[in-house]
Subunit: 338 residues, 2 copies
DNA sequence: TTGACAAATGATTGCGCAATCATTTAGCAA
DNA sequence: TTGCTAAATGATTGCGCAATCATTTGTCAA
């Protein structure tokens, strides 16, 4: 009562094992009559292919490796949803790893994944170690970096400019008359740092730069940490009149703390979030945020892998910028200014 | 320049391939001297085991299959974080699938996973189809159901009673003097329905049951949907004086809509959430919610699989109830009552 | 009818490893 | 020393499949 093999199916259908194998992988090369008999035999025996044997024989697997820095960050669960939506109708399966924002840990995970001969790799960011980058260059499958943009991807990159997204947001706040705009940053991963750089560039351009306006913490972002950071900010910079946050939950926490302190938003204090995760738009007042195309990034990354493995050539444009959208809402809209 | 095999390592170290294999899997059976030589050879050649070959030869893989109904639901990302934290130090890898709350789709995913000879299966809930259940019974590895509790798990179950959690919450609200308590349910998956049943039992017990107090939608829960549902609820049941929500984001949306309508919480209207995802505790006023041990569930499930595969016997207690904690906060605390 | 060629099908082999069984070496009591 | 046992190491085999090459069958023009 052991699991049937291709040979068993072949015997049942009266054909050789390799014909069954072909019927499954290249059905157009097998006659209709045999395909039908084989299909019946498969159903009768309950045959299911053995992926390990297939992988060993062909030296490639149907596993797509996805490396993200966090599972709990909604940004990456959205990416994963997009990737999964595209892949679930295919024969690929998703193997995930959580790098924990640690490039050294990431390197080990890449090494492990590469040993699987994956069908594709999706990895967040561009800040891999040199060794990681080399492994990704050498692995014989499509590699998609995501959530960022660069002219020099390992293979291709699908994302947006964190720098530009931050700069656009801060420009908007400046246009609305905010002057003492703080940067609130959590975790301080590479993409947060790029947002910080975008913030800094705009502040300097308008001669509003002030080093004391940076409020950062290595802790992960959360509503709670947002509340605490606002308290610290107002102690440190009493004349602060707005914040650009590196993530929405921090912005929500800050907005809630403003409510508690009766700090008038947007009149006395402007708030801008990042990622537009859904809660910001529902707050009182609604909070301005930068929408980032996370689900679409996941989808496009998966689709690229499917296409390349189906024989499509490597595209000319290897950095696919899906952009972002500043969702201007009440929290930064001061009537009579701008 | 192809990838080295056990034979290559053996040649380099001056031993046979099988000794290298043993040194990696059962080091205590290989002398220290050889272990050192082998270890050096592995480093020198950059040997990495081929999991497909290992799986084919041994008829078991080191893949742990995790089936969850949603990636974007924070509940399951927390579970995954816990599972990952336990597994990442081990040789296991995690392969995930999103069942989309669809038992038929789930069945196909189980079939696929079973074909991998997984080292373990973690699956949300107890509402698998008969065919799914049979496959899970037959698969030769530990199977952990999670997020629920039952006397009759496939193998073991790690979770809590959704019914009891809801009942405890509603009892609290009744004790605080709320009478026209609505149930707000989104998605209406099996666990939500158990919460609804817990709500109903308590309402009936206190003779407060009223069919018009059920507000449900098949849509996924979100802050936005919570706001809309409150509007519908107040239209339908103007004398409603509180809600028990099946998820925190709905509760947050309802609280924000109450702010907008100047509906006094907790005096005129009580709000209780579910899962205690973090934002509820930061709201103004803070929202009561049921903390559920999601991360711990993920950890325990992973640890069980590790232990069983290490030879531990099946435990006597096969339903591991990790309980829940009602976090009573301002949104349901009426002074002078209860 | 024949021959040439394409389409369809089959036989053989090896992927890299672990299970199994066989052999050698080490340790030690008598 | 001998003889015995346990520990350490090795040789052989097959897991289930796909790559490669070989063979058969079908098709059609001349």
């Amino acid at each position: 009562m052991k699991r049937p093999t291709l040979i068993d199916v072949g015997r049942e259908a009266g054909v050789s094992a390799i014909t069954v194998s072909r019927a499954l992988r290249e059905p157009e090369k097998v006659s209709k009559a045999l395909r039908d008999r084989i299909s019946k035999a498969i159903d009768k025996l309950g045959y299911v292919p053995n992926p390990a044997a297939a992988s060993l024989a062909s030296n490639r697997s149907s596993i797509i490796a996805v490396l993200v820095p966090s599972f709990s960050n909604n940004v990456f669960s959205d990416v994963l949803s997009g990737t999964n939506a595209v892949l679930e109708k295919t024969g690929y399966s998703i193997q995930i790893a959580n790098t924990g924002y640690n490039p050294i840990a990431e390197e080990g995970m890449i090494r492990k994944f590469v040993s699987l001969s994956p069908a594709g790799v999706i990895i967040a960011g561009v800040d891999q170690t040199a060794a990681s980058r080399k492994m990704l260059k050498d692995v014989d499958c499509p590699v998609v970096q995501i959530m960022d943009i660069t002219d020099d991807p390992v293979d291709v990159i699908v994302g947006f400019s964190n720098f530009d997204a931050a700069a656009t947001s801060v420009e908007h706040m400046v246009a609305q008359g905010y002057r003492r705009i703080a940067f609130v940053g959590t975790r301080m991963d590479p993409r947060t740092q790029q947002r910080m750089a975008g913030y800094e560039a705009v502040m300097r351009k308008h001669q509003l730069y002030d080093a004391s306006l940076f409020i950062t913490t290595p802790q992960k972002s959360s509503v709670e940490i947002g509340r605490h950071l606002l308290a610290g900010l107002l102690d440190k910079v009493p004349d602060c009149d707005g914040v650009f946050c590196n993530n929405d939950d921090v912005a929500v926490g800050i907005a809630l703390e403003c409510q508690r302190r009766n700090l008038a938003v947007p009149e006395a204090f402007g708030i801008c979030g990042f990622n537009d995760l859904g809660t910001t738009s529902q707050m009182n007042p609604a909070i301005t945020s930068v929408y980032t195309p996370r689900v679409e990034i996941g989808e496009r990354a998966a689709q690229y892998i499917i296409d390349r493995n189906a024989g499509h050539p490597k595209p000319e444009v290897r950095n696919i910028d899906l952009g972002f959208t500043l969702k201007v809402r009440a929290s930064t809209l001061r009537t009579g200014t701008g």
